[in-house]
């Protein structure tokens, strides 16, 4: 998931649609995010490349909307409703996810197991 500056980022992504849940006067999604271009990437426990400043899912409330939709801990969020999440600050990511006017968020997330699955199905590394 490392990026080369100037080159387009390619990743195998999964589309996840989360319905926001009304709780009191807030709409919640049921997960926590970490990361951002203003944060310290070295402290991210989920990233493979410790210079990756993307937005990662750090915690999922069990039984919450994100859990139901299939989001997993450690996923990197690449897009939210079409908005790019690979080069945003932490606060921008939070605002994009918690827009009051939207009650559905469509995420594109990527994780290592997706890459491995694609590679495996292509037969890149022979399994013995």
């Amino acid at each position: 998931m490392a990026f080369v500056p100037g080159q387009p980022v390619t990743a195998v992504v999964q589309r996840i649609e989360i319905q926001k849940l009304q709780q009191g006067e807030h709409l919640i999604l049921g997960f926590s995010i970490g990361g951002g271009i203003d944060q310290d990437p070295g402290q991210n426990p989920f990233s493979e490349d410790k210079t990756d400043k993307g937005i990662y899912v750090t915690r999922i409330t069990p039984g919450g909307p994100a859990d139901v939709a299939g989001l997993m801990m450690g996923d990197k969020i690449m897009q939210v409703n079409g908005w790019d999440m690979t080069m945003v600050t932490h606060d921008q990511a939070r605002k994009t996810l918690t827009k009051k006017k939207e009650d559905v968020v469509r995420l594109l997330v990527t994780r290592k197991s997706l890459e491995d699955a694609v590679k495996h199905s292509k037969g890149c590394y022979p399994r013995k």
Binding site: I28, S32, D40, T61
Partner: protein
């Protein structure tokens, strides 16, 4: 004057001559006699060396490099010098006797020149003032108030000049340098020219024309004294101040054991730099101990003895030079190939020696501590009560010395220092430590670590045996990359100089308010 390059060092008591140019080419003193007395005696004393070396048995004496105890031959005592000599000094003195005649002439020549110059300079203003009164008193205008005021100023300025010259030039000479001290010579010439030109002017314009304006003459004399004070200022700057700012870093290495120090020197001539370095040598370098070098010499001898190359073609070979060259190369190649276990021997020998030294040192420390507990300082009240069996420091030292003597002797023998310390000196040192309430550790410090050369007795100083060996002229200044040698009898000091670099500094201003910090964190927000 420039024939010899023997650099004989400074010895305060000795009556030997020194080629001393540093002293008083501009000295105007009249009290030379007292300093002359200490230097003019040329007597030499040969005594039995009073110092019994600690190592007394003859069996081991063969190992020693220097034999201090040759005292069977006593010869007549002539003169009252405090110098006592050993065998090596006799050899050197015969050499000195040959050199001394030339050096003596040199020294007295410069001394007389300096005295003459001083008298000339000091008496000139007075002569300027007095001559008109002697030669044409009736035509001379009387001296008014301003003129008499100038008399006072002349008197005080001359007094200040006298004191300043006494302070700057009238100091005991530190050393005898091989060549003329260039700056002093130049200053002497300058002063001479200056005074001569003043006399010329005075002679032509005042004496010949018999000028009546006495005030003008007095002012002329005052201007002379002022100019002399300025020349003295120039002398201070040239002789003292110019070399204070460090300009060169010199690296001094002793050739025998490689001990190296670095010093900062200013702009000096090579001979003055050598003098400064030698003065540092006596304070900083540990004493030269030839007994410590015997191990490496024996190893080197073993290497040489290992291989022999024979020329089977017989003598008279045309290509003898080439043959010798190839022979040596064959030796080196063979030596490299053969399995040499001398490094093994060295390692174990050094480990064993280290162990032995530490064991003896432990025994020594314990013995000395125990010896020190046997005596105690008596208080004032007790002194009146028990007058019996009271000892002064010397007797106290002699009383406790035997209990530690053996341990100390063994330790000194193991560390090969036994020729540096005689029994007499050890007892003296012990008495000194007892008097000053020193602990046993303080007493032992001078025996456990070899100290600077000055700490030991005079015969280790070798202060008169230094030779300056240099490719450049010794009166030329130090430059970057100057190399010269200071040779003593057993070893030499190799000196290289490097210029201290020109430092270019730039500044950067930091606003105190600009120190701001943020936390690096990985915040987690729940959405």
């Amino acid at each position: 004057m420039d024939t010899e390059s023997t650099y004989s060092g400074y010895s305060y008591y000795s009556g030997r001559s020194r080629g001393s140019h540093r002293h008083g080419e501009r000295s105007r003193d009249r009290h030379k006699s007292r300093s002359k007395d200490s230097r003019s005696e040329k007597s030499v004393t040969i005594n039995t060396p009073p110092a019994e070396p600690l190592l007394g048995d003859s069996a081991v004496r063969g190992e020693q490099v220097q034999d201090d105890n040759w005292g069977e031959t006593t010869t007549a005592v002539t003169g009252t010098s405090e110098h006592s000599l050993s065998q090596e000094d006799i050899v050197r003195i015969t050499k000195d006797l040959e050199d001394s005649v030339g050096l003596d002439c040199r020294r007295y020549f410069t001394l007389t020149l300096a005295v003459i110059l001083g008298l000339l300079v000091f008496l000139t203003p007075l002569a300027f003032l007095v001559l008109p009164h002697l030669l044409w008193p009736e035509r001379l205008q009387s001296c008014g108030t301003a003129c008499e005021g100038l008399f006072i100023s002349v008197a005080f300025k001359l007094l200040i000049l006298l004191l300043a010259v006494w302070a700057l030039f009238f100091r005991p000479p530190r050393a005898g340098l091989p060549r003329v001290f260039v700056f002093r010579a130049l200053l002497a010439v300058l002063v001479l020219l200056f005074v001569i030109s003043y006399w010329l002017f005075y002679g032509v314009r005042i004496l010949d024309s018999q000028d009546e304006n006495y005030q003008g003459i007095v002012q002329y004399a005052v201007s002379l004294v002022d100019a002399l004070l300025f020349i003295h200022y120039l002398a201070i700057v040239l002789l003292e101040l110019r070399q204070l700012q460090p300009c060169f870093s010199v690296c001094v290495t002793r050739s025998t054991d490689g001990e190296t120090r670095h010093y900062n020197l200013g702009q000096l001539s090579i001979q003055r730099a050598a003098l400064a370095i030698l003065e540092h040598y006596y304070c900083d370098f540990s004493v030269h101990n030839p007994a410590l070098l015997s191990a490496s010499k024996s190893r080197a001898a073993k290497h040489l003895a290992g291989l022999k190359v024979y020329n089977v073609d017989g003598p008279g070979n045309n290509a003898a030079a080439g043959l010798a060259h190839s022979q040596s190369r064959a030796m080196i190649a063979a030596a490299a190939r053969r399995r040499d276990s001398s490094h093994n021997e060295l390692y174990y020998e050094e480990a064993e020696h280290e162990r032995r030294v530490r064991k003896r040192r432990a025994r020594l420390v314990v013995a000395v501590e125990e010896a020190f507990t046997h005596i105690k300082r008596m208080q004032e009240e007790e002194q009146k009560k028990a007058p019996g069996d009271v000892m002064d420091p010397r007797e106290a030292a002699q009383a406790i010395f035997p209990s530690m003597a053996r341990a100390l002797q063994k330790y000194l023998r193991t560390t090969k220092q036994q020729h540096c310390h005689s029994m007499e000196s050890i007892q003296q040192h012990l008495a000194f430590c007892i008097t000053n309430n020193m602990t046993p550790k303080a007493f032992l410090e001078s025996y456990l670590t070899p100290g600077p050369t000055l700490q030991y007795s005079r015969d280790h100083w070798l202060a008169r045996q230094w030779t300056l060996i240099s490719e450049a002229s010794v009166t030329s200044g130090l430059k970057d990359g100057t190399v010269f040698l200071l040779k003593c009898v057993d070893f030499s000091l190799v000196v290289t100089s490097k210029k201290i670099p020109y430092i270019q500094m730039s500044e950067e201003y930091i606003d105190p308010k600009s120190h701001k910090f943020v936390l690096r964190l990985q915040s987690e927000t729940s959405v």
